[in-house]
Symmetry: C2
Subunit: 211 residues, 2 copies
């Protein structure tokens, strides 16, 4: 029925939407086919198993998610500015794909096998990102511009602040009865809030601060 989109692509797109909406377990190949209006065997004709279909989608999404950080590093820009830009890019990326973090957590936590599978696949990407950050960060620390801190800690803080907002978003919007416009404002406000929180967290320690 849908105009002229190749069936294989149609299946991927539909599966993508349903997997993101309801997770792997609660989405059936039957439902994917029904949604498209094609025979259920066709899903298996193109992808053989539901797991393979899922993995193809999952891998693509994760790469799309990590990719933008590979070539983010610029040497000619002050650290604080670089960091601000990185936090905002990360934030915008999640904003554009708000359901990926949940899919990620969902599959990693409920299916240890998949976790092992993707641990090997994806371990280089985060490592290269971390390595790039590491040098600059330690230099700043050595100069006394920011407090001693591991790249890992910094990344966890950024990730936590950016990701959780979007995992909570549906509940927040419904719970507080926010219009789409209001929600959009809330989100943009949180972006600058997160930048402020992170930048402040890096400042050199002052007397008596750590308890």
């Amino acid at each position: 029925m849908p105009q002229d989109i190749p069936m294989e692509q149609l299946i991927v797109e539909t599966a993508e939407r349903l997997f993101l909406e309801k997770g792997f377990a609660m989405t059936s190949t039957t439902e994917i086919a029904k949604e498209i209006g094609c025979n259920q065997a066709l899903v298996h004709y193109y992808f053989r198993t539901k797991a393979k279909l899922f993995e193809a989608i999952f891998e693509k999404k994760i790469k799309l998610f990590i990719g933008p950080f590979i070539d983010l590093y610029r040497d000619d820009v002050p650290f604080e500015e670089y960091l601000r830009s990185m936090i905002e890019k990360h934030f915008d990326l999640i904003k554009a794909n708000p359901k990926i973090p949940f899919l990620f957590f969902n599959e990693m936590l409920t299916n240890p096998a998949r976790m092992e599978y993707f641990r090997t696949k994806l371990s280089e990407l985060p490592r290269s990102v971390l390595a790039k950050m590491e040098g600059k960060l330690q230099a700043e620390i050595a100069q006394g511009h920011i407090r001693p801190l591991s790249t890992f800690d910094l990344m966890i803080s950024i990730f936590s602040l950016n990701v959780t907002l979007f995992m909570m978003a549906p509940m927040v919007q419904q719970g507080f009865n926010l219009s789409d416009r209001e929600m959009e404002q809330l989100i943009e406000h949180r972006k600058s809030e997160n930048v402020l929180i992170i930048l402040r967290s890096l400042r050199p320690l002052i007397e008596n601060e750590n308890h």
Copy 2:
């Protein structure tokens, strides 16, 4: 087989463990019964449907999770100290029940019906917590001790930092090959880190800070 625990309790405990491990959809009443070693019909004898069993557990867990905040508020303690203690209590609570946040997100996001169901049930609790915080926070702002900020923003930041660590924990531990002892140290470190991040984020704005 298990010594002298009433069957109903045994079912709840087993279901609890499995639901937390694998979520609602991927846990079957058949599996719960098999785990215990009893007949599968017994699960339905006590709880009629899988959904009712789940809801009983879910509700209990959420209450356990929000409860500690009800009577947290003390008037005789400086705001910063109060806040530190609240962040740490929240953190420890998640540490003691690290899988609840995921269960919460999982069910809220994949099952809109359940979301509606619990929205009504749980809306008073967060509201009362928020209300308690609100007064003190606004007073501090009026006095110029902290920057203008909504209670909502503060709560989101605390929640984000505290929760995400534990959602990531299994991946972090496996990905970096950390021993239980090392993981424990990492967690405790993050607790003080989160306190520091939040407290710093509240300080009054300085010249030119918000871009």
